[in-house]
Every structure is written in structure tokens, then in C-alpha cells.
Symmetry: C2
Subunit: 238 residues, 2 copies
């Protein structure tokens, strides 16, 4: 298992963690033949430094990306200046699915720390999906999963209080880190309070106040961007 320090930097997935390095989008339960077929493909990678963008709104859509290392935010720009964060993307997660429908990216993806992605050319992926049924279904699940996740977010934005949103945000992050082999208890936020607020439909001061409240009530321990979850039970019942 990773040490707390490593985990905080998203640098060391557990041994045996989910696909990432060389098999970015391999579905589970693949037949040996199909596995060989997919393993034979070399997916290129790309490094994006903190603050740099992976793609911008309106860019031609050619490929989707799997985060290997690091962390991204996706942002929609409104009326020229005002921008809203629509998601955060951790290692193992997918970026760029929004581009399929119009052949142009509908948002901008920005690295929150020095990061690396695996590039999956979309026409190659479509070919693969026509040849390998398991792969096809895997991609359909991926897309559908994104839809379900966004529906859940809409419910959050539509019904929850500021306190509930921040709690839900921490728990969601924790669960996603756990799914990728990182610690679900202690981690480092890679985003600012303002970015969290933008994502949750809150102002940065409100996010800060809620974190302070959780701290005071003994639900979490925070020091800047370092977060330790002390009472998951209470946090989920906020």
C-alpha cells in the first residue's frame, strides 16, 4: 500500500490497481485472443504541466484521453470571461467524451498538477469496438456511466445545501481515490477553494466556511489542501 505522503501526491497507485499505464481502456473479462489484439496496440502518451491545457473548447475532436498521472479540471467558458468547473478527473478516469457528438470539444481540460495522459484515437477505438464485442460494451458503459454521474450531480446541485454539497464532494473524491488504489482517508486536494466552489455552485468563502465547520465538528482534519476524513459516517449523514 502507498504511504500517506505518496497518496497525497497521487503519485503511487497500489500494486494491482486499476488499468492505467499500458492498457488504458482494457475491459475486464477479455478473451485471450482479444486481449492479445488490444495489447498489441501502442497508445501514445502526453505530458501536460500544471496549468496547461490538454484541449480547448472548439478544438477538433480526434481522441479521448485516460489520465495516467495527475489531475485535471474541465471547464466551460460562459459569456467570454465567466467560467465554470464541470468536473475533476483523477488517474484512470476518462477525458474528452464530450467531443464525440459535434466533432469538437465542448469544454476545456486543464491540468491541476503536472500530469500525463494516454491518448486513444477515437477512430481506432471505434474500429476496435466493431471487432471486439466486449470492448464495445465497455465503451458504452463508460459513456453511460458519465451520464449517470452527471445526473447525480444535477440532483446535488438542485437539492442539497452548501454543507451537504461539500460533504458529498469530499466523500466522492475519497471513493474515487479508493477505487484507484489510493487512500480514501487522507488525501491532498489539487484544486483551489474557488474551483471547488465553481464545481459545486458555491462561492469560495462558503466552501471555506463549510470545511472549517467540519473541522470544528471533528468530521475532518484539514490543513490547507491536506484533508483527513475522521468521521465518514457523520459526514455522509450531514
Amino acid at each position: 500500500m502507498s504511504s500517506a505522503t505518496d497518496v497525497g501526491h497521487h503519485a503511487a497507485p497500489c500494486a494491482g490497481a486499476a488499468p492505467c499505464q499500458d492498457r488504458p481502456i482494457t475491459p475486464p473479462d477479455l478473451s485471450p485472443d482479444d486481449l492479445a489484439r488490444i495489447d498489441s496496440i501502442q497508445f501514445p502518451t502526453r505530458t501536460i504541466h500544471r496549468g496547461e491545457t490538454l484541449y480547448r473548447t472548439g478544438d477538433d475532436f480526434r481522441s479521448i484521453y485516460i489520465v495516467r498521472v495527475g489531475c485535471f479540471k474541465t471547464v466551460i467558458t460562459h459569456h467570454d470571461d465567466h467560467e465554470q468547473v464541470t468536473g475533476f478527473h483523477l488517474p484512470g478516469e476518462t477525458l474528452g467524451l464530450d467531443g464525440i457528438c459535434t466533432d469538437r470539444h465542448a469544454c476545456e481540460a486543464i491540468a491541476l498538477e503536472d500530469s500525463s495522459v494516454c491518448i486513444v484515437a477515437f477512430d481506432l477505438l471505434e474500429t476496435l469496438c466493431r471487432e471486439v464485442r466486449t470492448m464495445q460494451h465497455h465503451v458504452h458503459r463508460l459513456l453511460s456511466g458519465e451520464i449517470v454521474r452527471e445526473s447525480a450531480l444535477m440532483v446535488m446541485l438542485g437539492t442539497m445545501t452548501a454543507e451537504q454539497r461539500v460533504a458529498a464532494f469530499l466523500l466522492d473524491l475519497s471513493a474515487r481515490l479508493a477505487a484507484r488504489g489510493y487512500s480514501s482517508v487522507e488525501f491532498q486536494l489539487r484544486m483551489t477553494r474557488e474551483e471547488i466552489g465553481s464545481f459545486l455552485g458555491l462561492k469560495l468563502e462558503t466552501v471555506s466556511r463549510m470545511l472549517s465547520r467540519f473541522q470544528k465538528d471533528g468530521l475532518i482534519d484539514t490543513r490547507g489542501r491536506q484533508v483527513r476524513i475522521l468521521d465518514r459516517e457523520k459526514l455522509s449523514r450531514v
Copy 2:
């Protein structure tokens, strides 16, 4: 073109309107061979009366549905009782994509008026997508389009005032009706103020107040659920 009365009841799409009846999910630009292949399939239909459900949360996922006639809402049930509307679905639009990722439906679809859907068995669709490349891409676009639409909704819920949300809701509905060959100027809301509010993250009183305000300011003309858009320009600049 349809008369205003017909339009109000969603009963008469224009001649030449988007696919609906016998070719529920036919992509554009299909080769004659592929068109013949897809045309040979008989998709079953199903009638759902007002207030009845097409599928419920947790139901086995077998197929997706294309609305032929009528109107649906999709609802997520939270903590047993509290429920939130996650979307409205007009003729020609798709229902059930949320079920792919877990093989179970993640929400409930309820008819807002007597309606009819076309049933597309998902394994058949996947087979078709493996055989017909154009169809495959069409389905990918469909899924991606849903993701983009939901992102836009998240931005709305995260940043807009009550007034802006209601205005955006009316304009969105208008545009979608237009896309299916109905009037974009005058139409009948099939949902209650409460359902609109649930969808927009507002209370029914607030929705009602905003509609009254638009009426007073001469942006729209409403009489119960009948809506006529008088000043689209101003409405979009609210």
C-alpha cells in the same frame, strides 16, 4: 406546417420532420445497403398512459426507447420519498441510456400525457453498431450529446438565477420542439410548475413568480400551461 392548436398538443409533426415512426434511430447519410438492413428491422412499440411508468429505478436494462408521441419526465428518487426530476423527453428523443452502465435503470420514466415509445433492444443495437459503422458513430454521438446536454444543465444549476433558469428552460423547450417540427413560438407545457421547479432546482412558487414576471414584462404570454413566446431576444438576455 402544423396549426397552433395541433402544436399545442404535440400531435402533428411537420411533414419531413426528424425520424420517429418506423425508423427510430436511423442515422443520416446511410448507404442504400445499410439503410435496407436497418429498414428490415421491425421495432416494437409500446403505449404508456398519462401517469404510468415506462421503467422504474432498478429495473433490468434491456432496451432503450425513442419517444414517438407524447412526453415523459425522468425522476430520481432520493431517500425513499423526496424525488427530483432529471429531465423531460419530447418526441424523437431517447430514454433509458442511463441503464447501460449497470444493466439496471438508474431512474424512473413517467409519461406526462398519453404517449407511445419505440422499443430498441440494446443487444440488437450493439450488433447493428458492429456491422454498420455509421450506426455505431450515430449511437456514440447520441451518448455524447447526452453528456454535453447534462454538462450545460450543471452550469445552469450552478450559476444562474431563478429568473435565468426559467427563461433558459422555456428557450430550451422551444428549440427542441422546433427541432422536431413543432412551433417554437407557442406550445403547451405538459408538466406542472412543481415538476419544472424540481428540474430547475427551484420551488414551484418561484417558477410561478418568474412566469408572472415575464408575462408582466411582455416577454411571454401564458395562460395556465399554454405559453407563447413574445420576445425571444429579451428572454435570452435575462
